[in-house]
Symmetry: C2
Subunit: 265 residues, 2 copies
């Protein structure tokens, strides 16, 4: 998503050339390219697929919405398995239209996970609940903190349900370091993503994630915090940023790789 202006073959080529060992994919460009073709493309280039984005949107209060969401998530799990990744990222969903009940919405996510977790486990796919920044709580994700995500994951085996640690969403939270330690100790860190916090935020706040090193997040401290739990895995850089998307994709990819080397390590 950081360089969504690149077609899948160019993305894979340039990742391989730059020594980037893995790539996180999104369902839409994979579907457009063809699932099996995408899996082969990445595999032939010697890249791993670090995660697939995204399932989720599990807060519908009506039966039809709930059934549709479960079917879509099962499809996403199948796609993850076909791509050879062990991780499907879940964005949980916001409040249904007209609702003000965050507690009930979070409870419905737990109910949906009970349906999906065994299905994922049978296919070797881990569901990774991503807490989004509280500014998305009403319209995108009622799970706002790592504590909440871990609470939702707790009833299930870690091999089926865990969490995403994304610096953009949790950097401000003074409970996050303890939650990271707890998640690491229970093998529930299924994805670790980086984006920097920069202001002013753009209208709609979705596409203002900062390039690594440009903002308020201490990237090195976050990497050390996650790795201190014994976690080893791919670190993803996921930038939604209109400014980066308007630039040449290869240039942005190269810049991101340089920032990753200088700011994270």
């Amino acid at each position: 998503m950081t360089v969504k202006q690149l077609e899948l073959p160019a993305l894979v080529d340039h990742c391989a050339r730059l020594g980037i060992p893995a790539v996180g994919l999104w369902r839409e460009p994979v579907a457009a390219y063809g699932l099996e073709a995408a899996a082969k493309l990445v595999r032939d280039a010697g890249l791993a697929v670090s995660s697939l984005c995204r399932g989720g949107f599990l807060t519908a209060a009506d039966d039809e919405g709930r059934t549709r969401a479960l079917a879509d998530n099962r499809a996403a799990i199948d796609e993850a398995a076909a791509l050879g990744t062990d991780t499907l990222v879940l964005v949980s969903g916001g409040l249904p239209a007209g609702s003000r009940d965050l507690v009930a919405a979070r409870a419905r996510i737990g109910e949906a996970l009970a349906e999906l977790a065994p299905y994922a486990g049978e296919r070797g796919v881990r569901l990774a609940i991503e807490p989004l920044h509280p500014m998305f709580a009403s319209d995108r994700c009622v799970v706002s903190t790592l504590d909440q995500a871990l609470e939702l994951a707790a009833p299930f085996p870690a091999s089926q349900v865990g969490v995403v640690v994304d610096t953009y969403h949790v950097w401000w939270d003074d409970h996050a370091p303890a939650a990271v330690a707890r998640a690491g100790a229970t093998d529930r860190i299924h994805s670790f993503q980086l984006a920097d916090w920069t202001t002013p935020l753009p209208e709609g706040v979705l596409n203002g994630r900062g390039q690594i090193g440009d903002g308020a997040v201490d990237m090195r401290a976050w990497r050390e915090r996650v790795e201190a739990t014994g976690w080893t895995g791919f670190i993803e850089v996921e930038l939604f940023n209109d400014g980066l998307w308007a630039r040449d994709g290869v240039e942005v990819l190269e810049e991101t790789a340089r920032r990753f080397a200088s700011e994270v390590f």
Copy 2:
């Protein structure tokens, strides 16, 4: 601030006419009108001043910035006393330029409070720490939750330092209800403010607070939650909203009073 397009005399007139018993004032329009004149204007209309906004911005890391901030806050405390309000709202301040250290910034707020709290207490003014929504953590307020605000207030008598409960900033937080109960039990709810959460957020995210009833916040539940602690006080409506500011101020004030009656009670 909800109707900042109204001059102070018109604001006071229309509040009195509508049966609104108190008004929260901001320092800038008070200074422009004259401190003593403003105090007399409000007093003569039979209105109370529910709070003065705002002091704070206490995160500077350099001596000069720190000295300037303390002097400005002492002036704000004096102004609050002159206006006859017992509450000065504090917006704590963001990260200093180039800093990524939220913990150190929060510690400096505590140090500044140690200087200011006795000064406020001697003048009958309570400092009210306002946690702002985490989307303001880098550039405006490193205090993002009621838990953090209560932790900063704890070393001081409740008659000197407490917190602001503003629905806009804390509605998403599942720890907030317990924090409200704790704050109420220790007499630390010094201000209770309402604004609704509406999306999409505007560029810069500052001026998109929703009119009561337009958004995701259950206003009645929040009032009941605060009042369940035994709290009695003025409830402020504080809307920063470009759309409301572009309309006729008297019309917005009347609409707000109607919404207050229908959505909060």
